[in-house]
């Protein structure tokens, strides 16, 4: 199968790259974790959260400004990569200083917090569905209204939601994150001990997933929208970067060849996405290319999406250095704050997207309403992030006071 070969080749190449990179890497087999928090992570995670919020409102003109329209990957890749990075950054240090048991327990506690947040969102979703069921009636949509069927069996549905099998629309990211964190303690231990083996193992799991169609089952049927066995690649790669991988890649990232390849690939992806919106352009895409390329699978983190994220990341890292002066400027603080409280802001974003969609529908929203809702949503996210920071300050838990502790350096995991 052409696809299988393509992924095997991608994985082999990745492992080969690791081999190439290794000799030039720093001598230490357990790379040191940088001491100071990297504000770029908070910044881009914050921006990703805004984009996820905007993308979750289907009829929104502002959607046209989000990255998913101009390439293969979207904000989910950024979110998962940075989550892997920060998880390794925070718990990697904990694991070295206090051992596997303590750091593992902390990771599991974080997974539990995310689970609780997910169930909270599910409750809001149920309220929305119940409202629609009680108020909406239109014979035109008799078939679509079957979506409300599960209200007839709350015993089954709520149980399936509790075991993460039933996941309403737009609520797939947190369950993915939970599974990734549940599996993280042993992966982190391996990353600290033998990083190359950990990354190679992750790539092999990714390839096997593609070849054998592995995924977790969903309810009422089907599989998880974000396949954890595929998306772990990005999470583990992020973690690897945090634990010294990024430093190992410095040479590669500085090379003009990498830059040209990244820019070339982004242009290619941009051109392809344009053919989705302007159909006549489609005839310029050769048949063999479409045959090979499509469908670009989000569920299994298509290698084209992964590569697109890598290209974006390579360019970003090159032009936005760690000590970029703007990172300290007030303009960037709103996004950075949101990125620092990612779990709360993510949940808020999902809720605001629900609410925004209601308002747009009720007002049969013109573009002005859509822009107003998008901006208001982002402002609410920023205000909430600031509020959470304030709470942490008054409770003596601000990120700055905790930078010395091992828990929340670099924002939340």
């Amino acid at each position: 199968m052409a696809r299988g070969t393509r992924f095997s080749a991608a994985a082999t190449e990745m492992v080969a790259n690791l081999e190439v990179i290794r000799p030039s890497a720093t001598v230490s087999s357990v790379p040191a974790v940088a001491g100071e928090r990297d504000l770029r992570l908070d910044l881009f995670r914050g921006v990703a959260l805004w984009l996820i919020f905007l993308d979750h409102i289907p009829q929104n003109i502002v959607n046209w400004f989000t990255i998913r329209n101009y390439g293969f990957s979207d904000a989910t890749e950024i979110f998962i990569f940075i989550s892997g990075y920060t998880a390794a950054f925070v718990y990697g240090r904990a694991m070295r200083e206090r051992g596997f048991l303590v750091s593992g327990a902390r990771i599991l506690r974080r997974a539990w917090q995310i689970y609780v947040a997910h169930i909270f969102l599910f409750t809001i979703f149920m309220a929305e569905i119940a409202y629609v069921a009680a108020t909406f009636d239109n014979p035109l949509y008799a078939e679509e209204m079957n979506i409300l069927d599960f209200l007839k069996q709350p015993d089954v549905t709520i149980f399936q939601a509790l075991v993460l099998k039933f996941k309403p629309v737009n609520m797939d990211v947190l369950p993915l994150y939970i599974v990734l964190l549940l599996l993280f303690p042993p992966i982190l231990a391996l990353l600290l001990w033998q990083p190359a083996i950990a990354v190679a193992g992750s790539a092999i799991l990714y390839v096997l997933t593609w070849n054998f169609d592995w995924n977790l089952p969903a309810y009422p049927n089907g599989v998880w929208f974000f396949n954890p066995f595929a998306w772990q690649l990005l999470f583990v790669f992020g973690a690897w970067c945090a634990l010294g991988g990024a430093q190992r890649l410095t040479g590669l990232l500085r090379s003009p060849v990498t830059l040209c390849a990244a820019i070339g690939y982004l242009i290619f992806a941009f051109a392809i996405t344009m053919t989705w919106y302007f159909e006549p352009l489609g005839r310029f895409v050769p048949g063999w290319l479409s045959e090979w390329m499509y469908p670009i699978d989000k569920t299994n983190l298509d290698v084209l999406r992964f590569a697109h994220f890598l290209a974006l990341a390579a360019i970003t890292v090159r032009f936005v250095p760690r000590d970029w002066p703007l990172l300290k400027s007030p303009i960037m603080q709103p996004a950075i704050r949101c990125g620092q409280h990612s779990l709360e802001i993510f949940c808020l974003g999902v809720f605001l997207a629900f609410a925004g969609q209601f308002v747009i529908g009720e007002w049969s929203g013109g573009w002005l309403v859509q822009v107003a809702i998008s901006l208001t949503g982002i402002l609410i996210m920023i205000a909430t992030a600031n509020l959470i920071s304030w709470y942490k300050v008054i409770e003596g838990r601000s990120p700055t006071t905790r930078a010395k502790s091992t828990d929340l350096a670099g924002g939340e995991a």
């Binding site: 629609v132 949509y141 079957n146 979506i147 049927n221 699978d297 569920t299 049969s364």
Partner: protein, 249 residues
């Protein structure tokens, strides 16, 4: 006075009818493509008839005992008869609620053998989205169905889901619509992009698809417009339109 009221009423009715004819207005691009309905062209040329089968699920009909009478397959037949004078038109609808595309694909052979159509309008995707069928599996089922229809020497017009703003946040149809677009492109079939067309009508204010009503009027008008739009698409793809008007009438 009565006469005056009757005149006023008939005047208003005439205006209403004129608006009704215009209300399905659509950009030409929704109903034109490079794909021809070759089997239909041949059937019309050789036999002066056009046999169409519609295969679909709940959104291809309306609720109630007379649902089919006002649903788009019947409206399509009426419009084609009106516009293609001298050609015998027969539209046979096979609509069954709660069917996945795999189930419909499995039943196609029987339908094709019975109807012997030159065009099959295949409405799919909604129930698959409702029951969480994997998009990959959905694609395979569509491919199987397209194979069966190809083998029976009929043209295909794939119809995707309805645009339903009220359930949009609960029922994600995007992935299924993408698959249908992809299959249509790969297999060189027509695609009736109902999702985009209804969204266009909603945005243009033709219909307020977000509204809540127990009344059947809007649902019937939407189906009427879909029937007329389908007729225009078929006429465009068989090059039968003499006056080159490509928007629905």
């Amino acid at each position: 006075m009565t006469v005056f009221i009757a005149m006023l009423a008939s005047f208003l009715f005439a205006i209403g009818a004129a608006f009704a004819a215009e209300e399905c207005e659509l950009p030409v691009s929704f109903l034109t493509s490079d794909t021809d309905l070759t089997h239909a062209i041949k059937e019309i040329a050789d036999q002066h008839r056009l046999d169409i089968s519609v295969v679909g699920t709940g959104s291809s009909t309306l609720p109630g005992p007379d649902g089919m009478k006002f649903a788009y397959p019947a409206r399509l037949e009426a419009t084609l008869r009106q516009r293609l004078v001298g050609i015998e038109i027969k539209v046979t609808a096979h609509v069954e609620s709660r069917q996945t595309t795999a189930q419909m694909a499995a039943g196609l052979q029987k339908i094709l053998a019975a109807d012997k159509p030159s065009v099959v309008i295949w409405q799919a995707g909604t129930f698959d989205a409702l029951s969480g069928v994997e998009p990959d599996e959905f694609r395979t089922s569509l491919d199987d169905g397209v194979d069966a229809i190809d083998a029976a020497d009929a043209d295909i017009d794939l119809m995707n889901m309805q645009y339903s703003p009220r359930t949009e946040s609960m029922l994600s149809v995007g992935a299924y619509a993408d698959v249908m677009r992809w299959v249509a492109q790969q297999r060189g079939t027509l695609l009736f992009d109902r999702l985009a067309i209804m969204r266009y009508w909603n945005d243009a204010g033709t219909f307020d698809l977000y509204s809540t009503t127990k009344n059947y009027d809007m649902a019937r008008s939407v189906h009427d417009c879909i029937g007329r739009a389908l007729a225009s698409q078929i006429i465009n793809a068989t090059h039968l339109d003499t006056d080159k008007t490509q928007t629905p009438r």
